[in-house]
């Protein structure tokens, strides 16, 4: 096989088993505690007052009537958040997003907050707060916002990445360029060139659990925060910075998390809850409504993307370029940059250039959403790839295979690839039975590829062996999709014990060193790596204990299948000592047995996927049904195949929702028109077919087990795969996501 590496065909004993997850029973009995499920004695209910305007000057906030309402214990506005940012603009952006400072920047921007004895009183108090606004001109469309005549969201923004540096304010916060070669030369060599513009609308991660926290903060500056988050250490550092607290005095505990997908990587109302707690000196529970989640957390960018690709008649791409304009909401982001980096990552290109723009609008501050920025870029690129294949009369899968990146390819965003899975996923697609299924009337098939970087990051893990030989593994990454099961498998594999012997706990911020946020598909990759090293450290301790027990040098001791063995003929009379035996004797042989590891888990292997999708479009209504869907993705090594498949299926389903239906709809007045599940409508059970999966394992040479992150890549191909399928079904190229019934009907009408 062309993609064999040193790690291929490693032998494992428990890795790869479909074991039951340790938190399963808690989650099927209702016992698992999420963000809104914790309470404290004497707790108050926190509620936030939000701007009804897209952009407005806050001239005055009169809280006097609300303060007099019996049961109201604290009210905060922007004035209650002194500036501890020390001139750090990005910190100030976060603070200002949590609570407006003189200006409301989007519909839903927080302007004041209340803590009261119960929800009813808190809601009543919100109504009594009188805010005097002066409406300002607003802009919500990314292309409009780039025009020189557009209302400026922040007058201090000067576009970064442009020479000479601009002297006037703009909504374009930065320009980034990636690529190599000379695209003019490349396009001159092309026999066929396709150029097209695409738009995608803003979508939300749509986790079912709203943001929720329980905050305590005393006058001594010590506090606790129970919160649903992807990164409790990051939340601790961020809240401490914003509120002027010592990091060590704020203990943050991550609750069970009811979905995140990138949306729970940033603080939104947690600093507000802490400040209410400080002002009232009472615990404050703050839970967002679904409307608040839509209006005032961090959806993904709406985009506008131009793609141009040229190829020779022999099917080889000669040049590719893209300009990607990504809306980042009311504060600067890095989303256009990520779009530009990912756009052509699947292909082996001699001449390539991609330029990304980050554009401010009067919309909520954009946050990460599963492989952030990659799906929109892939929608444009993979659509043009299909158009080119058609123009060249080539099979679209063969055309992709011919141009796919491989080991040694210089990626369009810079690095040289190691062993990667794009070619193998495409080969698997080509040979998949799905591709041979005949299509019926009004049906179309689409294929598309996707890429995501993956991330490693700072990780800190403890492994403690109990007196009975059971193992407690404490990790600092959050379990967003079954990682406790995967990490227990890894610990069991290293130690040579049963899976059931290992219990995994997510440690709070006081029990472990810093762990980066669980993002970039890093949970199983990075905590898995730290678990392996921590277990090996514990094994070193156990080998020493065995050596001491036997009275031989530790160099003569090996660890095999859960037991210490004395090597060499001279030691043949020494029976092996099992982990359980060593643990039982530990009080008399040197005390507790533990292994620890702190690591920056570099070398997260890049991830590729190829998807196949069949749709049926009703030409009368424009309504589209996905009738069959197949995901092929490289997992490096699937530690727990059930949860790898789950990531593949979940990402595909989110992509299907985005492709066909989900979008933020803003009115002329700049307010969000569909801030609820009824009108936003994510896919429901009856919308979807079974989603087939095929796991490829092309080991990541930078991880002891070959693991690659698997969580994100699965959302990258669906927009394009469905776009290609719908276009093939209706005979018209779709260029605007979501391909909702009215858009499909209009495209058909326009073509006639």
């Amino acid at each position: 096989m062309p993609y064999e590496t040193d790690y291929t065909n490693q032998k494992f004993s428990v890795i790869g088993n479909r074991v039951n997850r340790p938190d399963g029973v808690d989650k099927v009995t209702g016992r698992a505690r999420y963000g809104a499920d914790a309470s404290a004695a004497g707790q108050l209910v926190g509620k936030i007052l939000r701007s009804p305007h897209a952009h407005a000057l806050i001239k005055k906030i009169d809280t006097s009537k609300a303060e007099k309402l019996p049961g109201v214990k604290a009210i905060v506005t922007g004035d209650d958040f002194p500036d501890f940012t020390g001139g750090n603009r990005s910190l100030m952006d976060t603070l200002e997003n949590c609570m407006a400072r003189g200006r409301a920047l989007y519909d839903g921007h927080a302007v004041a907050a209340v803590a009261a004895v119960d929800a009813q009183t808190a809601n009543e108090a919100l109504k009594l707060i009188k805010v005097t606004y002066k409406k300002l001109p607003h802009v919500t469309d990314v292309d409009e916002a780039m025009k020189p005549s557009a209302p400026v969201v922040h007058d201090w923004i000067r576009t970064a990445g442009i020479e000479p540096a601009p002297t006037t304010a703009s909504n374009i916060s930065q320009r980034n360029e990636f690529g190599h070669g000379d695209i003019d030369v490349g396009f001159a060599e092309a026999d066929v060139i396709i150029e097209k513009t695409f738009k995608t609308e803003q979508t939300h991660q749509g986790y079912i659990e709203p943001h929720a926290c329980l905050a305590t903060l005393g006058p001594d500056g010590s506090g606790e925060l129970w919160v649903t988050t992807q990164g409790h250490f990051t939340f601790r550092n961020m809240c401490a910075s914003l509120l002027g607290l010592d990091v060590a005095k704020l203990k943050v505990t991550s609750s069970e998390i009811g979905g995140g997908f990138g949306g729970k990587t940033h603080v939104w109302m947690e600093p507000v809850a802490l400040q209410l707690a400080r002002k009232s000196n009472r615990p404050v529970k703050l839970v967002m409504t679904r409307e608040e989640v839509f209006k005032a957390t961090g959806p993904t960018s709406s985009t506008s993307v131009d793609v141009k690709i040229g190829a020779k008649k022999n099917g080889r791409i000669t040049a590719a370029s893209a300009e990607l304009r990504y809306q980042s909401g009311a504060f600067p982001g890095m989303w256009g940059m990520l779009g530009a980096m990912t756009s052509f990552a699947c292909y082996d290109l001699k001449h390539v250039k991609s330029v990304g723009y980050d554009v401010l609008c009067n919309r909520p501050k954009v946050a990460a959403y599963r492989a952030p920025s990659a799906p929109m870029a892939a929608f444009g690129v993979e659509s043009v790839i299909d158009l080119l294949a058609a123009e060249l009369k080539m099979d679209p899968v063969e055309f992709r295979i011919k141009n796919a990146a491989k080991k040694g390819t210089r990626a369009s965003y810079g690095p040289i690839y190691g062993p990667i899975g794009i070619g193998p996923t495409l080969e698997a697609v080509k040979n998949h039975p799905h591709m041979k299924k005949r299509l019926g009337k009004n049906q179309g098939r689409g294929v598309a590829c996707g890429f995501w970087f993956n991330f490693g990051g700072q990780t800190c893990t403890d492994l403690n062996i109990g007196i009975d030989g059971s193992v407690n593994l404490t990790v600092g990454t959050v379990d967003v999709g079954g990682s406790r099961a995967s990490l227990a498998l890894i610990a069991a594999e290293e130690l040579g014990v049963d899976y059931d012997q290992v219990r995994v706990t997510i440690g709070d911020t006081s029990s472990l060193g810093h762990n980066d946020t669980t993002e970039g598909s890093r949970g199983t990759f990075s905590s898995g790596m730290a678990t392996i090293f921590a277990a090996r450290n514990a094994i070193d301790v156990m080998k020493q204990r065995a050596a001491d027990t036997w009275g031989i040098p530790v160099e003569q001791v090996v660890w095999e299948e859960g037991v210490a063995r004395a090597k060499g003929r001279q030691n043949s009379n020494l029976p092996p000592l099992s982990l359980k035996e060593i643990a039982a004797k530990s009080p008399r042989t040197g005390g507790p047995i533990a292994g620890h590891n702190e690591v920056v888990a570099d070398g997260a292997g890049v991830s590729f996927a190829s998807h196949i999708c069949d749709v049926e479009v009703d030409p009368e209504t424009g309504s589209t049904r996905v009738i069959r869907y197949t995901v092929v993705q490289d997992a490096g090594k699937a530690i727990h195949p059930d949860y790898v498949e789950g990531q593949f299926q979940g990402g595909a389903a989110q992509g299907i929702g985005w492709a066909l239906n989900e979008e933020y709809i803003y009115g002329e007045d700049g307010t969000l028109q569909n801030a609820g599940f009824l009108d936003y409508r994510i896919p429901v059970c009856s919308d979807l077919p079974f989603i087939d999966t095929e796991i490829l394992e092309i080991p990541n040479p930078n991880h002891p087990y070959g693991v690659r992150g698997v969580g994100e890549t699965s959302i990258v191909p669906p927009l394009a795969a469905i776009g290609n399928a719908v276009s093939n079904a209706v005979g018209v190229r779709m260029t605007h996501v979501p391909m909702s019934p009215p858009r499909i009907l209009k495209a058909i009408e326009d073509a006639q």
Binding site: R18, N20, R21, D23, G24, V25, K27, V28, T29, G30, R31, A32, R33, Y34, A36, D37, A119, Q120, Q205, G206, Y207, I208, E209, P210, E256, I257, G258, G259, G260, F261, V287, T289, R290, V480, G481, G482, D642, Y643, E645, G646, Q649, G650, A652, A653, Q654, G676, F677, L678, I682, P683, V684, C685, S686, D687, L688, F690, I691
Partner: protein, 161 residues
């Protein structure tokens, strides 16, 4: 606002509570009876995370008033497991990895149990439509549908024997 005194049955046990007349059954269950297995995903009846049965009828408890439960029988996820044994649906959800984050799981279990009570041998399509009121954002529903199919089979066998 003065409270309403309500007597009802929850998971077979008699309970009494006092709640304001405009308080939802979901808030009563979560905040007054500490049954936090009832989840709030939207508060508007769109996500099904707060699904409970009210006299064997499947409802979103966020759309029912606490006061309306007077004299009635409520079933929540906490009551699905009986005599220390997991219900076949609960076992199937774990075995089939039908949950990732798990926040929607209580609602799905209550809705699926209600479905299988009415229809012990549902087709895939019947399962998909019966569970269309419950949103899951993690799984793409694939493993949930398979878990319900598998549990239905186990329950049919149990009934026969």
């Amino acid at each position: 606002m003065s409270g309403v005194t309500v007597s009802a049955k929850v998971n077979g046990d008699a309970v009494q509570y006092v709640c304001p007349p405009n308080e939802s059954l979901m808030d009563v269950l979560r905040n007054r009876l500490n049954l936090t297995g009832v989840k709030e995903g939207c508060g508007t009846g769109d996500c099904g995370a707060c699904s409970v049965t009210l006299d064997d009828r499947l409802v979103c408890s966020c759309l029912v008033l606490g006061a309306e439960a007077e004299g009635r029988s409520i079933g929540t996820v906490e009551g699905i497991s009986q005599d220390g044994e997991l219900h076949p649906l609960q076992t199937a959800f774990i075995d089939h990895a039908a949950l990732q984050c798990g926040i929607c799981t209580p609602g799905f279990l209550v809705a699926a149990k209600s479905l299988l009570g009415r229809n012990p041998n549902p087709s895939e399509e019947e399962i998909r439509y019966a569970l269309a009121g419950n949103l899951c954002r993690c799984t793409g529903y694939d493993k949930i549908v398979r878990a319900v199919q598998s549990a239905a089979k186990v329950m049919r066998k149990q009934k026969k024997s």
